[in-house]
């Protein structure tokens, strides 16, 4: 069974540019989560989808971040315009209900 996949694995952009990260969850997992790890800090929650609906977006830093989940399948996280402090590793995870979450390999975003 395929795990959670994320694309790209690494992105380097300049301040002010736009970047879109993609996540494909495990097939059949209705719950999809985005997290971020900034250098030296713990992994922090960004938002949670149940199917195509946003269940909790309390961790989104500001309105430069926009997440979507088309048809309850894959999800995208867009950062527009990117700022230096957005650099970090963005993880996507998926789960069946309240069961454990399975994480993707992450996308390392570097904003210069």
């Amino acid at each position: 069974e395929a795990g959670v996949t994320q694309f790209p694995s690494h992105s380097v952009i300049e301040k002010g540019q736009t970047v879109t990260l993609r996540c494909d969850p495990i097939s059949g997992h209705d719950n999809l989560y985005w997290y971020r790890r900034v250098m030296g800090k713990e992994i922090k929650f960004l938002l949670h989808f149940v199917k195509e609906s946003k269940q909790d977006e309390s961790g989104m830093p500001n309105n430069r971040f926009l997440a979507e989940r088309t048809g309850g399948t894959y999800s995208t996280l867009k950062v527009q315009p990117a700022e230096l402090e957005d650099s970090g590793v963005y993880f996507c995870a998926s789960s069946q209900g309240l069961a454990e979450e399975y994480f993707g390999p992450g996308t390392r975003l570097t904003v210069t």
Binding site: V4, N31, Y33, Y35, K41, E42, I43, K44, F45, H48, Q55, D56, S58, G59, F91, A93, S95, L98, A99, E100, E101, Y102, F103, G104, P105, G106
Partner: protein, 112 residues
């Protein structure tokens, strides 16, 4: 406020030298404590879920235990391949959300 603290930050062991990692937590109502292993450049890999005080789970050389305030990950006779960062996360039952709250992790290095 929900909080997860892991100790030590880093640990070096000789092969075969058993030890324990600690995860202390403060949540209003625990809806699961989760242990993950993370290798460099990869996403967190699920190890265990514990739900109630007194619960224990085992897998190969790893054993996780839970009390009302903390969890321990015991590593018996570790091997070099056990070297990784071990992460602890909790879910808070009263927050109305499924999100994880992570600790900063313990970096384990096992020397041959």
């Amino acid at each position: 406020e929900d909080q997860v603290t892991q100790s030590p930050e880093a640990l070096r062991l000789q092969e075969g030298e058993s030890s324990s990692l600690n995860c202390s937590y403060t949540v209003s109502g625990l809806r699961g404590l989760f242990w993950y292993r993370q290798d460099p450049g990869k996403g967190p890999e699920f190890l265990f879920t514990l739900y109630s005080a007194g619960e224990e789970k085992e897998k190969e050389r790893l054993k996780a235990t839970l009390t009302k305030k903390e969890s321990f990950l015991h590593i018996t006779a570790p091997k070099p391949e056990d070297s990784a960062t071990y992460l602890c996360a909790v879910r808070d039952a009263t927050s109305g959300t499924y999100k994880y709250i992570f600790g900063t992790g313990t970096r384990l290095k096992v020397l041959a």
